[in-house]
Symmetry: C2
Subunit: 717 residues, 2 copies
């Protein structure tokens, strides 16, 4: 097991790539901007445990107080900052982290308890609403902050109080007679505890995580009833009084991925971020404790992954169609925007997909996980931050509407997404490779060795390459320091050059993901030997090949031709076509197509348009961003909606045979009856000379009126 | 103004047609069956005001008690029975009506109040929750029962207590200082009061209806706030405790079509039956009281009609996509079934569309209203009753699913739909013609003249023919009895023969609806003169033409070729094709297509299939129903879903270019790397030799496994 939160230190991004530039933007802008927001909103000082006017506000989303996530907002900022400080030292950030850590330490109660809301606002009520009140979610983020803090600073200033708190939680929750047989409504602490166990080797940490995961959804966990029901009864909840995210009466345990135990779940449901965090933890548990019940858990993870990708994922890698509960609709319910039935695709949810994929790839090296991970990164996730790291989206619809134009915000009341992008980009190096050079625990409390200088040893070494991001990865083989470097202008150009700086003859092998779009026509140079095999989407290059490279170098060429994709035929928008190139999903925006007035609803694309797609290397003047723009020539149209609606004749449908209904004129068959004037027949559509596409992640960076769309309706010429 | 509930007595259906056979089935079976149900369930005796165990049950749909509609169930049965008894005398039904009327009389309180729930179950709480408790809805149905009862029996046994009750309501509601400034959550009483006014000429009845309609949605009706909010505050409602049909916190006044005054509403929203009943009443009010504010009301009715038909109506004439609140989704949200995002299309809602269309046609003779009325009748409404009148549907989805197979039920807890079909078919004769032979009030209390023997007189007479249902319509012109007869086998064959039995030279004109599908190629014989005009979809035949007919007869031929229709391109299912013929919408069922296993989800239809459609005159052996069946030959396919999902490669989309992704084999470009075995490529689809279609209304009449679908996905060969 390696965690990207720890492994990223062995991988250095090289300048020039899209991902590198975004990570630099986060370092340069987001970190300080978010610190400023923490201070302005009261979050920064919240662990001083003084009253804040916000605590008196009625909840925007009842029963969740508006300040309920503040603990986690602070924790995620600390965590993300710690990742970035590894290679971007910053005294002011350092000082703020130090101050926050001291405030957190001072906020801890004698018994170890550490939570803003239940200390200041609702004392005496701790652990009475695990379902809705994010108490353990906050604890999970504090654990993750402590892990990152200890990793960077090599001290226990934050880890110490957190371990004390975790001790209290371990005493409080479990199967024992006097313990609470419960688990959190929002998973997070489970994955945090498993990472903590990885660091501490303390079996209590594994035990508590395992308990939370396996107990979840037990239909008779507390005196014969579901824990959430028992807890609700204990609180005296009125059954007809329900949170706004409950779409029905009766607890909606499916919203929490807790309608049944995970091993029995067949369909991914409910809140999408919760589901991803839960599955990530479950996946980790199966790696840490390979036993029979965890094998069932692993099967459940696979089953739910497949259900999600096959039936509940947007072409951008976004998940979650339903705004009301920020979650999955039923199978194939994937409208593109608010005015088409909804679309949520929350940023954090696709970050969760990446987390889950990275974990699964460690025990099931299958290109389908790597492909989706790359899809999410370049589309659903990157689209959520502006090029300069100063503005964000929380919801990432595939089509705008007048109700929800395509635009970015500085911050959100529920501020999970911006710091989550910061955390992800901070540790992104850890997603590029899985390094099987060593199986020992990578991080061990304060004995953890220092970042880039740490080298690991093993006799045989395999390195999996999941992402093609220019970078240099350092590892130890045969007690010698080795480096794997990849350089490219991917995803814009096809050629990726690898350099393997290793002992002249070694037992190192590489496994390169061949993206699904390149499996037919990728090229390796020097040519691959017969012993090289493509297995489940990864090209296995043996030591014999790697030992005989001229200049220790080889190139992989991945074809990046524009492609057309469409949703599954059962999906809500099955008649839409989307332009893609390599891992990049494209969209149209009004900035490039100024004539648009209807969010491209009446714009249709010819399914035979690929021959008329032109690629242009663009360097945008305003943002200085470089990318490959695509232009479709004379193969798209705008439908004349006025004409179309005339043709409907006030009926709720359109005749398919265009000739059968023409105007209001009644013709010779009725023997010369005069009808109303035969109006001039307008054109059915107007061909668009040049329809210009930009990467979906680049939307909303250049102003404009907020018209944007990914999937365009098929033009049935 | 003529109301079909009164005008139907002048029109006699002729045997042999689909509509006639359904009306006979209702007379022979439904009426007695429903009487039996009323007795078994406790409804029949409910006006004895004794306690019933149901009254103790917790509500299935909080806060609505399960028995809340019982008053209306009884009233609707009485009403429907009275229509059918006009030409189907039945002593047992007579006796039951008599008994029910006496029970209703005995249940009236001294002050006129007449409601089961607030007399027996919650005394002292009357008029405290007009929003949800259906108190005035029940009153409306009692008024309609009394009108039908008086019309048939020529006595005031039921009318008397109802007038007493209406007096109480008139005192209770209004703008006066001590009156309640309220209106019902479920409209119904408004249209009932307007019909009552038509009978009584009592200005109080008009005044109360007008008050309810105009006050509705007033944002500051009670001390500066919306009535529903004021009423809710008065009850001390908890804002977070909401009925299950409220999808959000905050009252959901849009659900009741009361988010703003009707004259300001731009979009049809909320519960679809409520909206239709409200618009029907509003439409009537504009006819009864043509003044400036009612002119605005008329504009609103038109605006909301257009919004409904253009953007919120299924191709079957069904309305309402959302189950949770039995109502309209947003514009163009029209999935076909439960597993595609929902579909409700409640029977009563399309009956409401017919009511509204019939009313509008009296002042705006436009084919678009008549076309939709016919569409609803033959599809969304007829489909809700089995051929024998013994089984029903409440929800009329366009596609079945394993969660919601296509099947019928005997009865429903909320039993609005079955008696509503009975009421409609009872009075259906009144929908065929609008008779402008007389403007005098048709029905005047007990002085009402007797059914078929009544003839009206006028100098000039125009008769509008909206529906082509074999029938004979009697009217008076120039003091002579006249008859307009139409005979046909429509909607199966094209020719409709009219016979006009009138004085040899008269000033009678006819206006025949030319259905939208026939406007290009309908044929009139003898040929129409140049003075005949097609105006807004109605063919105006002048007296000069009608006076010179050989044998007083002419024929209209409406082409009934099979057609393909598709939803609006913005609609959820825009890539589906539906087969239609004349006004009949077709569907596929597993009874005729036994191979189906997936509710026809993977069945696709070639948009060029019309040349391969074969028509067959079918006489079904099991049901003895005759209809035109359609078979599409070699122009439909089933998609090989296994193959398709293989092609997706674990990604959330399908490549459009079929050649770009083939199997897992990596080819020669990568210099002979061995991939996993190149699996045998399966066929993409299987052509269906004969795909058999039946009218949608005929579904679920012959057993089967409940697989059914209207719109099939477009086959992009």
């Amino acid at each position: 097991m390696t965690y990207p939160q720890e492994a990223f230190v062995w991988t250095q991004l090289l300048p020039g790539s899209l991902i590198h530039s975004r990570r630099e933007a986060v370092s340069a802008n987001t970190l300080l901007y978010q610190l400023d927001v923490l201070k302005k909103t009261g979050r920064y000082d919240c662990f001083k445990l003084k009253w804040h006017p916000v605590y008196d506000e009625p909840p925007e989303i009842w029963p969740v107080p508006n300040h309920l996530f503040w603990d986690s907002d602070v924790a995620k900022w600390i965590e993300g900052a710690c990742y970035l400080l590894h290679d971007h030292p910053h005294p002011k950030i350092d000082a703020s982290i130090h101050e926050l850590v001291h405030m957190i330490r001072s906020a801890q109660q004698d018994d170890g308890y550490l939570n803003l809301h239940y200390t200041v606002v609702a004392p005496g009520k701790r652990f009475t609403n695990l379902r809705d009140m994010h108490e353990l979610y906050n604890a999970g983020h504090l654990i993750e902050a402590a892990l990152a803090h200890q990793h960077l600073y090599k001290n226990d200033l934050l880890m110490e109080p957190i371990l004390h708190y975790v001790d209290l939680l371990h005493k409080t929750f479990g199967p024992g007679k006097h313990q609470i047989h419960g688990y959190p409504g929002h998973p997070e602490i489970e994955l945090a505890l498993l990472r903590l166990y990885h660091r501490t080797n303390n079996p209590k940490h594994l035990e508590l995580a395992s308990y939370f995961i396996h107990e979840r959804g037990n239909p008779s966990g507390v005196e014969g009833v579901h824990f959430f029901d028992a807890e609700s009864r204990q609180r005296g909840d009125d059954p007809y009084k329900r949170p706004s995210y409950h779409i029905e009466i009766g607890g909606c345990s499916w919203y929490y991925s807790a309608d049944k135990p995970l091993i029995e779940q067949k369909e991914i449901k409910g809140h999408s971020v919760r589901a991803m965090y839960l599955l990530t933890a479950a996946s980790d548990l199966t790696s840490v404790s390979p036993n029979e019940s965890n094998e069932q858990l692993r099967q459940a993870v696979h089953r739910l992954w497949n259900n999600m990708v096959d039936r509940k994922m947007y072409v951008t890698g976004g998940i979650g169609a339903i705004k009301q509960y920020e979650g999955f609709g039923q199978d194939y319910f994937l409208p593109q925007g608010t005015d088409e039935g909804g679309c949520y695709a929350e940023t954090c949810a696709s970050i969760g997909v990446m987390m889950l994929a990275q974990r699964i790839l460690q025990y099931d090296l299958d290109g389908k996980y790597g492909d989706v991970m790359e899809l999410c990164l370049y589309n659903a996730v990157l689209t959520a931050m502006s090029h300069d790291g100063k503005a964000f989206t929380y919801v990432n619809q595939l089509a705008s509407s007048s109700a929800d134009p395509c635009k970015r915000c500085d911050w959100f009341t529920v501020a999970c997404c911006p710091p989550n992008i910061m955390r992800l980009l901070g540790q992104i190096g850890g997603y590029i490779y899985t390094d099987h050079s060593s199986d020992r625990d990578l991080c061990n409390g304060t004995n953890e060795v220092n970042g880039h200088n740490e080298h690991r040893s093993a006799d045989t070494t395999a390195i999996d390459v999941h992402l093609y991001i220019p970078s240099s990865h350092t590892f130890t083989h045969d007690n010698k320091s080795c480096t794997l470097t990849q350089k490219s202008n991917y995803p814009w150009t096809s050629e990726i050059t690898f350099n393997l700086d290793v002992p002249s003859t070694s037992d190192i092998s590489l496994r390169l993901r061949i993206p699904f779009f390149a499996r037919k026509s990728c090229v390796l140079n020097p040519p691959a030997p017969s012993s090289a095999k493509l297995i489940n989407g990864y090209l296995h290059l043996p030591a014999s090949y790697l030992n005989n490279l001229p200049h220790s170098s080889f190139t992989l060429t991945l074809p990046l031709n524009p492609r057309l994709i469409q949703p599954h035929p059962y999906a809500t928008n099955s008649d839409t076509l989307t332009l893609a190139r390599g891992p990049i999903i494209y969209c149209v925006e009004d900035v490039d197509n100024a004539w648009v007035t209807d969010h491209f609803k009446s714009t249709q694309l010819d399914p035979n348009c690929l021959n008329s797609v032109h690629e242009t290397n663009i360097k945008d003047e305003q943002t200085e961003e470089g990318y490959t723009g695509l232009t479709v020539r004379n193969a798209a149209c705008t439908v004349n909606m006025r004409r179309l609606e005339q043709k409907m004749h006030g009926m709720p449908f359109v005749e398919v045979d265009r000739d059968s209904v023409q105007g209001e004129m009644i013709n010779g068959h009725v023997n010369g009856i005069n009808g109303t004037d035969n109006e001039q027949i307008e054109a059915e559509y107007t061909v668009i000379e040049d329809l210009k596409f930009v990467p979906f992640y680049f939307r909303a960076n250049r102003g404009g009126r907020g018209h944007c769309r990914v999937g365009l309706r098929r033009w049935n010429r």
